[in-house]
Symmetry: D2
Subunit: 266 residues, 4 copies
């Protein structure tokens, strides 16, 4: 399990969220409050949008809590939309390529969750990728794979919501075929630089949490509140997607996953 946050709003120095708050993401790398693991020391990453269509990407495999580069970059760079992540590796290696966020063209993606017994369905899922997206695969995580699978559906014209629904349904189907009893859980953030989509779903109803905070000129999604103002943070409902566009109120819609409705009956 990992910790993450995403911001959309007036351009702000990234350190105001990543480093400064009482329960900042950097703090969570060492002492997360709500994560399955208190320590999220297996690397970190930032994807921020600035003057280019593609996001900047800064990822490293050291713990976030001691990285001077992260601190300096966050203190310098002002962005209207960025994603940040600290990682607690489950089964895959601690490498830069396995750190979130992942990016591809103008898209950035990060994830907290898991494909249960991932190694047993990895090859079949990778086989679904078109060649050009397979070539973008740099690491070995299930998260990056889900990202590329979602992009593949989007390239065929699906909306982000539809693409996520299709990919989760398909992944679960493969897991069932492989008789995998572990769950598929998915709390994820996707952005194209203009819009942030935040997803929550799991086949067993144990989806990692996401919290939303809206202020004038600033919307934040995070895996746990960054401060003690618990009332200011709304929990994102399960099996839903939140859409955040600058200047508009965040909207919540149910996430349709294949033909069934999640969580599945046990």
């Amino acid at each position: 399990m990992c910790r993450l946050l995403a911001y959309s709003g007036d351009p702000t120095f990234m350190d105001t969220l990543v480093c400064a708050p009482k329960n900042s993401l950097v703090r969570q790398s060492l002492h997360a409050c709500e994560g399955k693991t208190a320590t999220n020391g297996d690397g970190f990453g930032l994807a921020w949008y600035g003057d280019r269509e593609e996001p900047g990407l800064f990822r490293d495999l050291r713990p976030a809590w001691s990285d001077e580069n992260l601190k300096s970059l966050c203190a310098q760079v002002r962005s209207p939309l960025f994603l940040a992540h600290v990682r607690a590796a489950t089964q895959t290696a601690t490498t830069r390529a396995n750190c979130h966020p992942f990016s591809c063209g103008r898209y950035a993606f990060m994830h907290n969750g898991q494909i249960g017994s991932y190694h047993r369905v990895r090859r079949k899922l990778e086989a679904l990728l078109p060649d050009e997206l397979f070539d973008q695969r740099a690491g070995t995580t299930d998260s990056e794979l889900l990202f590329l699978l979602i992009l593949a559906r989007m390239e065929e014209g699906e909306t982000p919501m539809a693409a996520v629904g299709t990919v989760l349904a398909q992944t679960k189907e493969y897991m069932v075929k492989a008789q995998i009893p572990e769950a598929l859980r998915f709390a994820a953030i996707l952005s194209d630089g203009q819009t942030i989509w935040a997803f929550r779903a799991s086949c067993d109803g144990l989806t990692p949490r996401l919290y939303l905070r809206e202020r004038p000129g600033a919307t934040i999604i995070a895996s746990e509140p960054l401060d003690n103002l618990r009332d200011a943070w709304t929990q994102v409902p399960d099996n839903s997607v939140i859409t955040i566009r600058q200047g508009l109120a965040a909207t919540t819609e149910p996430l349709v996953i294949g033909e069934g409705s999640w969580p599945l009956a046990a």
Copy 2:
């Protein structure tokens, strides 16, 4: 605060202590039981004695829990005497040169403790080092500095116990002069490849713990027990030094620190 262990006995694969036990040192890097901090993820190190007079030194700034090199090295190398350490940095940077153990010639040293307000006495203490030992200074920690100060006394003919006593007294004196209210605490291991000396002392009586376990052919000192057999582990008394020589029972002596007796009255 850090976690550490030292072994002397029949040559053994290092992983039997560093990686395998229920509460192995690698486990303690992520979930220490007794340390001030549960996470000791700011690098790690090994010093092991083999066929040469000087120890092998392997240190890296990644967390121990995810380092494949550490795992492989410990699985391969059999040693009759080794030191291992996982670090929780206090004020100094996460670099290889700041990872314990430190080595100099045939000596290796590691430490759990602190010089309170270290930066205020650092220069004065460094000024005590002879040139050739100052040149060995590769990092910026108080621990490495204490090691080199101790070696300086030993080069002048003092025993390890006397050298430690002198250096602690002198350090405390400088701290007092600088009106530093924080404590000097010292739980440390020194070895020359034949003998292990384990020291515990602090000016305020809050010395980090050390535990001793003796079995035929195997003596272990560790900052916390490696297993649930609590009875098998004896606490090293405060203000004492334990001397471990292969084939002999460990001996405990009081540690004489300057002219006074520690802990000092508040």
Copy 3:
């Protein structure tokens, strides 16, 4: 292109070959004489056999020339059979998992060469791997893929020579189908801890070189001589395999690649 060496003989400290010679492997990381690139600074690795059936593996992504851990390990560890490699990355990332040697069970492997336009045949070649070997795939290089493909054939009962011949033929066939004009070149070392096999072959006759040196109690294969005694080093013939077993003279045999003979007519 990379630089590599392998040793079989009386147990020797690894630094006698890796660090000490005038043209040591560490020296070659910065100033190779014969490689396509003078600098081989994209990581390094060691696989050494000791008291266990599986080799020790030590790989890092820093340049070999400045790595203190490599120096210390090589100074300490004595081995009767080891492989060492410094890397010049071609298209794949600088990560530990992409550093040679690779290991799997008791086998170790390293490579200097290339699959031309590798990304265009990667998926098809990976599809040939049985699941359990695919799961061993930790990096993204063509070299690791060739290693696992060779192991797959060996698990089906082929000798190392036959397995290499089959895999090279098959790889070339896939390259031809994909209309890849670039060459397949292969200079590689495989070992199971008892025997070293050194292979040289390429479809265009431009195989990277390998040199053999035999002394009583010490056989060395390297991508370039480690010293100025050029007469002491014999070039390994193209399209051949050398087999080195402790206590026996090295033997050279032709390498049979599929049904044709290499180099292929242009």
Copy 4:
């Protein structure tokens, strides 16, 4: 010896100088044309000025040529004034803290040169630092030490030129006292975010080169030309300082070093 560049002018994406040119700084990390060493693979660094008074600092110990973070950061960040450096370590360790540029408050500094037999004067020179600047010392290089010594003089009211002159004279004096025959050579860039000062001096006349290129809205100083337009690049004269202020033509003045004139008679 290292390679470096500094830019002042209209805000520009850093990759236009660091990554894009035919002979970009990243290219020079692997294949420098004019440096004493072709390979400058012992880390790299950037200091850029943006919306804050203090510069952003991004340094890492990997070779610049393979660092994805460097590439992405340079592609994203637009700056009116930045410094970039690739390092070829001479005697000190490859750590982030030893990578240039160094920063302190709003100042940034980088250096190509050396204090001959540095370790023999290091302690004496460090003793000249006031406590608060000594506390800023994070690494072990002669370059960082020179930077802090220069800042110490500037804090006492000297101009950057006067401070450099004083420090070089003093350093040489200490070298003479220590009977050090090797030279003191200094090609360095200092900035406060508004002005760039570029210095060249050495006691033996063998100062590393610096080149100046001025275009409307863009002034560049580099240790070697970034392109083939050799006529566009002017060599900075020895024993001089160039001052670059946005919107003004660069000015060149002689650098006064102590009371003598450099190079010194042999």
